[in-house]
């Protein structure tokens, strides 16, 4: 006890320097950028957004109107419900297809040859460029009335389709643009496939399991944690779809691609109805949280964790 006190006394002139060497000080110095950003650019805006959602904020004035925005959304705004419905449809169409493609291609490209890595690079390229304005414009031109797709269909004797003008068709070109970018999920799957011990397959082969059986009994269960990760991340990004709707269809035809993120943007930055836009943002956050929670809850039934791998 006394020794400690003496040491502290002897070190008195250096206290500040010494304090700065403690784990707490070093930790907070290095974590400071995140902590400041988290408070100022995430938590504070979220609180502000919650407050705005209770007002009729429109850039000029903000009167407190209680839950009126939410009442309006749930009872008086059919565009909101339609927007939510179309976003769901889009996610349900695009995300599973994207993951299936990613998994299958990763599975077929597991061999470690030079040519397989070239193929992987080719399949990855769309993920790199797919989110850009340039590709969205190309897509718009491809699926235009006189575009490439209709040109090819015409050449093989099929009538032109009004891809971007028909609300029953328009989700397909947009979902295809998302599915097309399966490359990054594919690479994550490929890394997961590499981690499966070959001894599992060898044992199954000795037991006489067919390749299809091996895929369903070994590959899928072993890969299930990676599938869960991809499913959650892709679902969240799917709900946030914006660029495609903004550039290819501008939310049309007849609101068929007026996805939630685009609807928030138009309410906030076109109509300057920022209170209402904030309210929709919060509903969107809750919807995504619920969907994610459902995925995690059901995952207990289909995700298998290897014993001893639970850190």
């Amino acid at each position: 006890m006394k020794k400690k006190a003496n040491a502290a006394l002897a070190a008195q002139p250096k206290t500040f320097k010494q304090r700065m060497q403690s784990d707490n000080a070093v930790g907070y110095v290095f974590a400071a950028p995140f902590i400041i950003g988290f408070i100022c650019l995430t938590i504070f805006p979220m609180g502000l957004s919650l407050y705005y959602s209770l007002t009729n904020y429109n850039f000029v004035h903000a009167d407190f109107i209680g839950l009126n925005n939410y009442v309006r959304m749930f009872t008086g705004d059919s565009r909101f419900w339609y927007s939510l419905w179309r976003t769901f449809l889009y996610v349900i169409l695009a995300v599973p297809l994207k993951l299936i493609f990613a998994l299958l291609v990763a599975f077929f490209l597991t061999r470690n040859t030079k040519i397989a890595s070239l193929y992987r690079a080719v399949y990855y390229l769309p993920s790199l460029v797919g989110g850009s304005v340039a590709v969205a414009l190309v897509w718009k031109q491809m699926f235009a009335r006189k575009g490439m797709i209709n040109g090819i269909l015409g050449a093989i004797g099929i009538d032109r389709l009004n891809w971007l003008g028909d609300k029953n068709l328009v989700l397909f070109p947009l979902a295809l643009l998302t599915v097309w970018q399966f490359g990054s999920s594919m690479i994550i799957f490929a890394a997961g496939l590499k981690e499966i011990p070959t001894s599992y397959y060898e044992a199954a082969e000795i037991d006489g399991a067919s390749s299809v059986q091996r895929f369903f009994k070994i590959t899928l269960p072993c890969l299930s944690p990676v599938i869960l990760y991809n499913l959650v991340m892709q679902t969240i990004t799917g709900f946030m779809v914006f660029t495609q709707a903004a550039i290819i269809t501008q939310g049309g035809p007849a609101d068929a691609t007026n996805f939630i993120a685009y609807y928030i943007y138009t309410q906030g930055f076109k109509y300057f109805d920022m209170g209402y836009g904030s309210a929709i943002s919060w509903v969107m956050l809750v919807v995504i949280a619920i969907v994610t929670l459902i995925i995690f809850k059901t995952s207990k039934k289909w995700v298998f964790y290897e014993a001893g791998n639970d850190d």
Partner: protein
């Protein structure tokens, strides 16, 4: 003999299928590049053809370069480079600092901040789009690059997480030995962790750069004067104003806007693949 013939046919089918499908995958990109040399008539009336039917039109590139409302694409590319460059450097520095703290230093509240970081990883940005605009508006930053680059100085969850995963692979004995030798924890970051993080840093540089380069929503909300437009925003407005009359020029500028991304892809392909697999896995 029969077996090996069967194997050969099998391998041929495999390459035909995988290769053919691969070609189909990059066909839209190739079609865009070739489209930048076609004239309007060609694009509208011979849309099924891959190569130009009505000759090669180099002038599309010159016409496109002229840009929009008095500003050439040179201006827009410079703006994109400034925004993507600053954002990328800021992301690397801030994210590596935070990753070091969360992965290596046992400070009070570390677990809470780690959970906050994971939460932001999953938070849809649109939720805070409107209030963030208000905040930038109140400090008169709307119309400048500040709203586009400032958030990157505070670390990006995706990259913090990736670097933390990578830190886990660096032997702790290294920092412990350095600490025993009297190296402070600040110097351990700059002398040991940062150099060893290099592969992860390269991945961050690449991914953050092309994300920022491709970004459309940020510039759309914050930049209204043409002099400040980034390439992606300029391309969209250019397409709206002259795209209907000059598809070739639009395709030329679309191709040009993707050249930095293509270059990154060609040079750093290996890092990209490794980076993505290390981020996704073990998550």
């Amino acid at each position: 003999m029969g077996m090996s013939a069967k194997k050969k046919v099998g391998r041929f089918c495999y390459h035909l299928f995988i290769g053919g499908f691969g070609l189909l995958m990059i066909y839209p990109v190739l079609w865009m590049i070739i489209g930048s040399f076609k004239n309007n008539n060609d694009i509208m009336n011979h849309s099924a053809n891959f190569l130009p039917t009505l000759g090669w039109h180099m002038e599309n590139w010159a016409n496109g370069w002229k840009g929009y409302s008095g500003y050439s694409f040179g201006t827009f590319f410079t703006n994109s480079l400034i925004v993507a460059g600053i954002a990328t450097l800021a992301t690397v520095i801030s994210s590596s600092m935070v990753a070091y703290a969360l992965a290596r230093i046992k400070f009070k509240g570390r677990k809470i901040w780690f959970s906050c970081m994971l939460a932001t990883l999953m938070l849809p940005g649109q939720v805070i789009m409107i209030p963030q605009y208000m905040i930038y508006n109140s400090i008169n930053a709307v119309g400048t690059f500040v709203p586009l680059v400032l958030p990157h100085f505070f670390g990006q969850a995706f990259f913090i997480y990736q670097m933390m995963q990578f830190c886990q692979g660096i032997p702790r004995e290294l920092d412990e030995a350095a600490f025993v030798d009297g190296c402070s924890k600040y110097r351990i970051y700059s002398r040991i962790i940062l150099p060893l993080l290099k592969p992860s840093i390269v991945t961050t540089l690449i991914i953050q750069f092309y994300w920022k380069w491709d970004d459309y929503m940020g510039p759309l909300i914050y930049l209204s004067r043409p002099a400040t437009w980034t390439a992606s925003l300029a391309l969209k407005n250019f397409a709206d104003s002259s795209g209907q009359s000059d598809y070739g020029a639009m395709f030329a500028m679309a191709t040009l806007s993707l050249i930095p991304v293509f270059l990154i892809f060609l040079i750093f392909n290996r890092y990209l693949v490794e980076g993505i697999s290390s981020t996704g896995l073990k998550g």
